[in-house]
Symmetry: C2
Subunit: 191 residues, 2 copies
């Protein structure tokens, strides 16, 4: 087994366990077991459980961001840009439920709130691509003249809620419904 394989296996095991049982249902011992690795080995790759959790989050976010950018261009109309990002986000979460559940748990934990506070200053991550879209829309008077944070809530809130219900197995959406839901979000933010 190669060095990088071990790191990947640890990541995979952590993702799976945290997703299924939550942060506290994922002890390092079980992560190690699941990864086919000794308990101490994790500490060859990660300083602590906290850094493992952090690094996994940032890796997932990077992948998500890459997917959102696929086929995205600022030359499209604002509505097209929004629909592209919204449906891509929802579809990605639905086809990668573990990713969604991990990111959501992270975001609601002390880790995530700390991250959010930092990002209020210099914007990074997936948020800036949406920020640009909303700012353009407000300037061009296509979107309502509301604070950015309300636009974020109106756009993301429903999509996250749907992703959650779907990954929990409470509902099952098809592509048409995904589009309908994203269009309704647009109705919420558009002027």
């Amino acid at each position: 087994m190669k060095v990088s394989d071990k790191r990947d296996n640890i990541m995979r095991a952590a993702l799976e366990l945290v997703t299924e049982k939550g942060f506290h249902g994922a002890p390092m011992s079980r992560i190690a077991e699941e990864a086919g690795v000794a308990a101490g080995t994790i500490y060859c790759y990660f300083e602590s459980k906290d850094t493992l959790i952090d690094e996994l989050y940032h890796e997932l976010e990077e992948k998500l961001l890459a997917v959102l950018k696929e086929g995205y261009s600022t030359t499209m109309s604002l509505r097209e840009r929004f629909l592209h990002l919204g449906t891509a986000l929802l579809k990605y979460f639905i086809t990668n439920p573990a990713c969604f559940r991990y990111m959501e748990q992270y975001m609601l934990s002390p880790f995530g709130t700390a991250l959010k506070k930092n990002r209020l200053l210099g914007q990074t991550g997936e948020e800036s691509i949406f920020k640009n879209l909303f700012e353009d829309g407000i300037f061009l008077k296509v979107l309502k003249d509301l604070p950015l944070f309300i636009h974020f809530a109106l756009a993301f809130g429903p999509l996250i809620a749907l992703a959650r219900d779907q990954t929990l197995g409470l509902i099952s959406m098809d592509d048409a419904q995904i589009t309908q839901a994203t269009e309704a979000c647009w109705d919420g933010i558009k002027r």
Copy 2:
């Protein structure tokens, strides 16, 4: 100290600690300490930590539901009914941040997902009042012809997102913004 005071103090302490540090940052020993009570005393009132957590949630939900029903009447127009409920919900969460943060944590934990699954069958709790509203709106062709769960997501998603950001101290909304946000939610669900 009266018997009921002790129970209330335990509840208050649990709410405060869970709100600030999460379920796992709220060990029974600290809840007892914060409540001014011995560790064993909690077990005079609650069978286990789990039942304490459950009972606290249901108590908070009951209070919230009572507030939402204040001044609510099905004789109002659908839009008025929705704006009443939406703004009342958001205002209540903003003025009771601990309540919001507790309920959100609960809902995302295994406790909450179990509860949600049960409620899919026989509807109870705060959901039924919204369910009636949405069903009326769809029947009267005032709302989009979408599955109920999408309406729930469109209506609650943004409000919850805003309540979260506000209770985390990331934003600060005034009454006008609360109304604007709720009106935008209406735009999302209306035909």
